[in-house]
């Protein structure tokens, strides 16, 4: 495998954003995902190869360690930040259509709820898995999900809630989305939720962690 891509995978896995970043301490002073992505493009490596053989394997590796309890939220977020930095360089190729995303994922924290760490973690992990992510932020009403689906009708939707008071608001969002876009798949997540609640409100999938969301979405793509 290409040496630049191997290093890139390592940088994503360990959250090395750029040369300036002091994290991880063992890679202090070394170039990071930012510089290596530029180097890879300059070396003529196809953007699709950079994404599929350099970036995504790094996110998969850190995601696996997160699921196994070997790394925690801070390290996962650093990996996602490194991934986002790398993706900036690939953006023109996404826009030109040269690099295809796996699909589009619209995500937001349900209206009434301002918590975003879980939503951010899922958004960054799904993006790192090769999906285009449209992050609607927090306190998102049904109309905003519907408007965005109008622009990206083949998207999957993710809704997050942290509070027991706001999880109830998910039901109307799911109902409104399903009324207008019955085939849209809706994922939900958040500390007080479970599969039973997911089934009760008519959502398609409850994910207890970001990797669960990625696995479900990737599976949709294969259907």
């Amino acid at each position: 495998m290409n040496e630049i891509l191997e290093k890139l995978t390592t940088c994503i896995e360990f959250g090395k954003i750029n040369q300036k970043s002091p994290f991880p301490p063992s890679m202090r002073g070394e170039v990071g995902a930012d510089e290596l992505t530029k180097q890879a493009l300059e070396a003529g490596i196809k953007p699709t190869i950079i994404l599929e053989n350099g970036l995504i394997p790094g996110m998969n590796a850190v995601g696996l360690k997160f699921s196994q309890g070997k790394v925690f939220v801070p390290e996962m977020l650093m990996a996602a930040k490194a991934m986002s930095t790398a993706l900036v360089h690939l953006k023109p190729f996404f826009q030109s259509g040269e690099v295809k995303r796996k699909g589009t994922f619209i995500i937001g924290t349900v209206f009434g709820d301002l918590h975003d760490i879980g939503k951010n973690l899922v958004a960054m992990t799904v993006e790192g898995a090769g999906w285009e992510v449209i992050d609607l932020g927090v306190d998102v009403k049904s109309e905003t999900f519907l408007d965005t689906l109008g622009k990206y009708p083949d998207s999957a939707v993710g809704i997050s809630a942290l509070l027991t008071t706001t999880m109830a608001n998910m039901e109307s969002v799911v109902r409104n989305v399903k009324e207008k876009y019955p085939s849209t798949k809706i994922l939900i997540g958040g500390a007080p939720l479970n599969t039973e609640f997911c089934n009760k409100i008519g959502a398609d999938f409850y994910s207890r962690d970001p990797q669960g969301a990625v696995a479900y979405l990737n599976n949709l793509q294969n259907c």
Binding site: G15, P22, F23, G69, V71, F72, P74, G112, T164, F197
Partner: protein, 336 residues
């Protein structure tokens, strides 16, 4: 009212009957006919609710005041969203770089709504004298997350640890004073809610949470005032770090199996937990609640330091019938 909390703790160890200390104030809203907004903005409403609950449920082992995790950040100046029936939430970060930490002014005790919660605590401690009263405060790392943004605070501990420590020191200075104010208001203890630390690795938890919680514990805890540390994350690997705070009690959320926690805690420290407050206590049927309560008591029966509780604050909208079911199950278990 002053109370021998060491004696209270020892009575739990020696009494074969299981004690229950659910973290509940919101269910009192139904008894008092008030809204969440009333409770978080009016001291007499908060007092009225806990008083009503204490009278309805004599089996409650201790009174817990509101777990309002926005009040401390609000005192620092953070904007907070309020609504009639939802718990207030910090809506925007107060600082967006650690360089701004030097400009942060440590609030005076009583600033913002802290005076409302302290006055409610005073009323409860003066008038409910049959059981201990616990005030509620946020933990240092969770407060720092509200001021600096929790996602940013998560990565800050890796890339800007010095700045993170600086902010944590300021948060801790305020929280020491706020905890002391609950003590001076007559409370018998304080529950420190540190949920954000539940997302960290054990060594991160120790460096960025536990050492600061310990400062609060050392400042206020004595024979008459007990600190209970609450962490509702996946804390199985964090117990050792939590123990280093020196708190007399530890309160766990429903993300963990208590049978994985209890063997890690020395028998002279209290352990509270951990029925799912949303999935079981709020959304379950009375039959489910009774079954889950009995199951937890049975599985933990060998531990004399275990006190059954909700895994977190029992949410607004939980019916009185469901709270009744929780206490009925405990009464039936103790009868057997």
């Amino acid at each position: 009212m002053k109370m021998d909390m060491t004696g209270w703790r020892d009575s739990i160890f020696t009494n074969p009957e299981k004690r229950a200390v659910p973290v509940m104030t919101y269910p009192g809203l139904q008894l008092a006919g008030k809204s969440v907004l009333d409770m978080v903005t009016k001291e007499e409403v908060q007092y009225e609710c806990v008083k009503a609950l204490s009278e309805k449920y004599p089996a409650v082992g201790a009174i817990t005041l509101i777990m309002d995790l926005s009040v401390e950040a609000e005192a620092f100046g953070s904007p907070v969203n309020f609504s009639e029936n939802e718990i207030p939430t910090v809506s925007k970060r107060l600082i967006d770089s650690f360089e701004q930490v030097v400009n942060l002014k440590i609030p005076a005790i009583g600033d913002g709504r802290t005076k409302i919660h302290l006055n409610a605590a005073r009323l409860a401690a003066e008038n409910i004298t049959t059981r201990p009263t616990f005030g509620g405060i946020i933990g240092p790392y969770s407060l720092a997350g509200r001021l600096y943004d929790i996602t940013e605070m998560m990565t800050a501990i890796l890339i800007e640890p010095e700045g993170a420590h600086e902010l944590l020191s300021i948060c801790t200075s305020f929280l020491k004073g706020y905890a002391l104010a609950f003590k001076n208001a007559g409370c018998n203890g304080v529950l420190i809610a540190e949920p954000a630390a539940g997302l960290l690795a054990d060594y991160q938890c120790e460096e960025f949470s536990s050492q600061y919680v310990k400062q609060i514990v050392d400042f206020v805890q004595d024979d008459n005032f007990m600190v209970v540390l609450h962490n509702c994350g996946n804390t199985v690997s964090l117990v050792e770090s939590m123990l280093k705070t020196g708190a007399a009690g530890f309160h766990f959320g429903n993300a963990v199996d208590m049978c994985e926690i209890l063997p890690q805690v020395p028998s002279n420290r209290l352990v509270f937990g951990n029925l799912d407050p949303a999935g079981v206590i709020k959304n379950g049927t009375p039959e489910i609640i009774k079954a889950k309560t009995t199951e937890l008591l049975t599985r933990t029966s060998q531990y004399n330091n275990f006190v059954i509780s909700s895994g977190c604050d029992i949410p607004p909208g939980t019916t009185i019938q469901n709270i009744d079911a929780f206490f009925e199950a405990i009464a039936e278990y103790n009868k057997d």
